[in-house]
Structure formats: structure tokens, C-alpha cells
Symmetry: C2
Subunit: 338 residues, 2 copies
């Protein structure tokens, strides 16, 4: 049933050598037109398909890249993967997917598995709980390009594609200020992660630049889910000087905040403005649509793929590229007073 045709089968059929068949198929100039034509025809007739595994073993290149993300069903990450896939597929690359579930151990496993699978490169978003860096060095030591996207670590020799989280935080905060908000709070994620730290710093900088004073009580660090958004508002409500706006580093926190604000009878955006981060699909579908900072994940995927391609092209020149994409602020109802 599994009638795999190899070049040897073709060779036998034509009473020539596999070497000749191989050369003919690869359009080697040393082969006569006659045999070339013959080989191509017989190959088609016998339904020959090149065995990429054999090729990969011989050439040392598998034409496969590994992509590691925390969860692939998170829109942000699946969009990045889409971007990567679309950039690499036309060049004959395949994309292998791995999930870390935000666990360092799994991340290390994934990397080892991908190395065993002889991938030509690894593109990844570092897990939240990763502290070691040894496994990254293993990759580099084997001469395999490594590209971080979104979540990065400082590792020499690794190219990164990130968005300017500082700018994102700054833009969002500035926008809130321009809407007339005076007491702008910030819901932050774990700031041991660079992305959250930078968003926070952008927020602070905007406050400073526009003469608003920073209030420690206005900053809450929590998980990025709806419930934490509720809790954050509950805390804010207890303050004497309540905030009148939130820049949230997560759309889910923003959503939770909005729900709880409504429960408290607070009118959005009239009395309170909210801006989220990530531009999750749901933010634009809400009746009270949520302003959010878009990270253009597909483009990030494209870029990560391109960076990888540059690295394989000039394998000798070890370039360590740092691409920083600019975020876009999507202004929606939750922060539109005009």
C-alpha cells in the first residue's frame, strides 16, 4: 500500500544510476537534456516525492524551525505564529509548535526536543517563570539561530523582536491625560517581566512629562485576569482620593475593572476612562469598546521570521539584531470623551 518511490526505483526503471537521477532532478548542468527529460517524466509517472528527511540528514538542514510560546490558543501568540508561518512557508520551511504553559522545565524540554529534531532555528517567547539561561546557550553553541519575540531575556547572541512597551505605556497614559484625566492609576503585571516593567515606566514618564504626580497607591500589581480587575477597583474605591482613569497592562484586567466600575455606578468614559493593552479581539466587540494598545502580533511574527532568515543567510557573521516595533493605540469608547 505504501508505495514510496525513491530515486533508486527510478534509476532501476531506466537502467541508470541513482546519482544520475538525483542530478537530473536537481537540474544539474552535467546531465544531458535527453536523460533529464526521461527522468522527470518517469519521476512524475511513478509519483516520486523527494524524501526531505534523507535530504535533511545529508545536508544537515531540516528546513524546520521551532516556535515556543506559553499557550498557542492565546490570540496574541497564535497571531504571531501566523505571521511566522506565512513568512517562512513560501521558502519551504515548516513550523513546529511547542507550548511551555509558562513553565521553565517545559521550556527546557521543548528546546532539547527541538534540538534533537534538528531544527534550523528556534523562535520563542520566554516563559514567565524562566530564570536560568543555560538552555539558551546550548542552542547558540550548536550554532542554531535563536530569536526572542515579545518576552525576552538578556542573552548574548540572541536577536530579539519586541514592541516598545515603554512607548505603549507612555502613549496610553498621555492619551488619558489628554482626555482630561488627572488621577491616572495603573494595573500592572508582574514587573520582574520586562514588558510589564517597561509599560509601567512609560506610564510614570508620561505622568512626569505632563506634570501629574505619581501616586504609589494608584499602582496595583496582579495577575492578568478579570477577577483581579474587580479586586483592583475595590481597592481603589476605598481610597480617599479615587483615581479617574486606569491604564491597564492587560485587557483582561481592564475588562474586570470596567465591570466593577459599572457595578459602582461609575460612568465610563464620562467619569472614568480606561485603556487596556494587547488589543484582544474582545475589546473591540464590546458595546462599551475598550481602548487598547495594539502590538501588531502578525507583523511581529513576520519580523521574527525575517530576522531568523537573515541569521541563517549570513551564518558566519553573528549579528545580534534588536528590532523594536512601535505599538499603536486603538482609541475606543472606554476612553473617548470628545
Amino acid at each position: 500500500m505504501s508505495e514510496k518511490t525513491t530515486i533508486y526505483d527510478i534509476a532501476k526503471a531506466l537502467n541508470i544510476t541513482a546519482a544520475t537521477v538525483s542530478r537530473a532532478l536537481n537540474n544539474n548542468p552535467k546531465i544531458s537534456q535527453a536523460t533529464k527529460k526521461l527522468v522527470l517524466e518517469t519521476a512524475a509517472k511513478m509519483n516520486y516525492k523527494q524524501n526531505k528527511l534523507a535530504l535533511a540528514l545529508k545536508s544537515g538542514r531540516s528546513n524546520t524551525v521551532g516556535v515556543i510560546v506559553p499557550y498557542i490558543d492565546r490570540n496574541f501568540f497564535s497571531s504571531i505564529i501566523r505571521g511566522i508561518e506565512e513568512e517562512l512557508y513560501p521558502l519551504g520551511y515548516h513550523v513546529i509548535i511547542c507550548q511551555t504553559h509558562e513553565e521553565e522545565g517545559t521550556e527546557i524540554d521543548n528546546i532539547n526536543a527541538l534540538l534533537n529534531a534538528q531544527v534550523d532555528g528556534i523562535l520563542m517567547s520566554v516563559s514567565k517563570h524562566t530564570t536560568q539561561l543555560d538552555h539558551f546557550d546550548h542552542v547558540l553553541k550548536k550554532g542554531i539561530p535563536l530569536v526572542f519575540f515579545d518576552r525576552r531575556k538578556d542573552v548574548k547572541g540572541v536577536s530579539t523582536v519586541t514592541i516598545d512597551d515603554f512607548q505603549g505605556g507612555y502613549m496610553a497614559t498621555k492619551h488619558l491625560i489628554q482626555q482630561g484625566c488627572k488621577r491616572i492609576a495603573h494595573l500592572s503585571g508582574d514587573r520582574s517581566l520586562e514588558i510589564y516593567k517597561h509599560r509601567y515606566e512609560g506610564y510614570k514618564q508620561a505622568l512626569e512629562d505632563f506634570g501629574l504626580k505619581f501616586n504609589k497607591e494608584y499602582v496595583i500589581q496582579s495577575k492578568s485576569d478579570v477577577i483581579s480587575g474587580h479586586k483592583a477597583i475595590d481597592k481603589f474605591m476605598k481610597l480617599d482620593d479615587r483615581p479617574d482613569a486606569i491604564f491597564s497592562s492587560s485587557d483582561f484586567l481592564a475588562l474586570g475593572a470596567i465591570e466593577q466600575l459599572k457595578k459602582n455606578g461609575i460612568k465610563i468614559p464620562e467619569e472614568f476612562c480606561v485603556v487596556g493593552f494587547s488589543n484582544e479581539p474582545f475589546t473591540k466587540f464590546m458595546e462599551l469598546s475598550i481602548s487598547s494598545v495594539d502590538q501588531s502580533p502578525v507583523q511581529m511574527g513576520n519580523t521574527a521570521a525575517k530576522v531568523f532568515l537573515e541569521q541563517v543567510k549570513d551564518a558566519k557573521v553573528k549579528i545580534e539584531k534588536k528590532v523594536v516595533l512601535s505599538p499603536t493605540l486603538k482609541i475606543r469608547k472606554s476612553s473617548s470623551r470628545s
Copy 2:
């Protein structure tokens, strides 16, 4: 720099044969404990990593499966992939992702590319515009398991994992009837696709079972996006006998419908109930949350993976398995009158 260690390197270091090394690493009982220990230690010392490519070429099994979906950044599909990945990864399989963009040509390309890559199986959701079936036969002829999930075609030898779309349509419609709705409309996708046809049929059956008469004017077939939802409502508004509920075969259509209903000043769910399909993440985040039929995509992925595993296990027994999962109705505000 790329200091790849092979079993030959280990063999040389220990002055033995690669065959012995191989056996030792595979814990072959014919190897003495002494050499086993020696080999394992040296392997660890030399940082040996098995080359899966060589293994794959030799064994004919790549421990890789291909997954083909229309778009990976659609929540439904990325969730399925998550389910597949999580089931197969612990068994040492890798998942290669391909997107068809709903185009038949791309689908064929993908399949060929995956066959060339010597995948051990292909799990896929058929593209909307696929009419030919030849490329599926190619896969089967090579003896490679093929599993359809969600979108299927009638191909002998292919196992399928689907949800009971009929039941989904039936449940949703029945629920609307029980909420007291009398004139239930249906927004449908292209019914040349089985899934939409079955949802439609479930809808009709429920009407019949509960003594409501089917009204052709209440059924609109369109694309699955928000705008089409608007248009559908515009049409319904022109009817003398307007519907008082919608079962939509898409959440996006449902959302569009709700938006337009509100624009017409119609109160949901008091005057009009809506149920969507797919349980897209946004449906539960809306302030007016949307009832929807959940397809449990992760479980669908798990199941598809398991079906594949059964097929590889009993390669000789060609079982054509048809698994039909039951959908769940998520009742939310858009249809909760009680």
C-alpha cells in the same frame, strides 16, 4: 562551534563500536552492565543528543504529525491545536502547523509538503473551498493516517472527529422556544458545508418538534461576519411578521445582529433572544453576554489526537472511526428571560 556528538564519537572515545554504543543507549539486554554504564557516562559527558532525523530516516517514522487548519489565529482552531499538541507531546510527537487560508490549492500544497516531510499522520480541518478529494487519497495510499476534525468530507478510510452540529442547532433552538420565543429566525453559513447544513437541520427539527412552523423568510445564508449580521437584521425588520429570536450559526453574525437590534431599539432578551455558535471568547465578555453553543475545541483536539494514535497503533486494522462530540449550550444574557 557546532560540536555535535554522534554515537561514533562516543565509540571512538571508548574504543568500541557505534553498534555497541547504540545498543547501550537503548538499554539492550545483550550489553554488559559495565559498558552500559561507561557509555551512558561518556554520552552525558560529551553532551550527546540523539539525532532524530537519522532515526526517522532509518525507522521510517518521524514522530511528527501535520496539522492543517484554515487560520491558526482563529480561537477555535488554535484551541484544537492546543488539544492536539498536549496529547501528542508527551508521547514524543511534534506538531507541524499549516494554514490553508481556506484555499484548496494551498491545502493540496500543504498536504504534499507534509508528505515530503514524512509526517506520521495528518490531522486537518478541510478548507471551505475544497471540492476535489484526490489529495486525500494520496495520503491514504501511502498508508498515513488521516483524521478530519470539525470540517469533514466523505472519504473512505478517513476517521473524523466532529461535534454534533445537528444537536447544537437543536439545543439552541429548543432553548429559544423554551424562553417563549415564537418566531425564531436562523442565520446560516454556507450550507454546502456540512456543519452549517446540520445546524440548520437541527434548527428545523426543533421547530417541528415543538410545533412551530418553519418560515423560509426567517432563514438567511451569509458570510460569518459582523456586517452580515447587521444586514440580516435590516432584512428582518422589513418583514410584516418580524422574528423574535435568532439562532445564529456564528457568533460574529450573532454579535452583528445584536448590535443592529439595539440600534432599532429592540430590547434583548426581553423582546428578542439571540443564541450564537462557537462560544468565541468575546461572547462571555460582553456586557450583554451572548449565549452560544460551545464546541469544546480543546477536547476535540485531544480526541483527534487519540484517534490518530489508535490508527498508528493498529496499522494493519484499518479502522475508520467516526467520533461525534456533544456540544454544550452556554446560556448567557442574550437569551435569559427567567
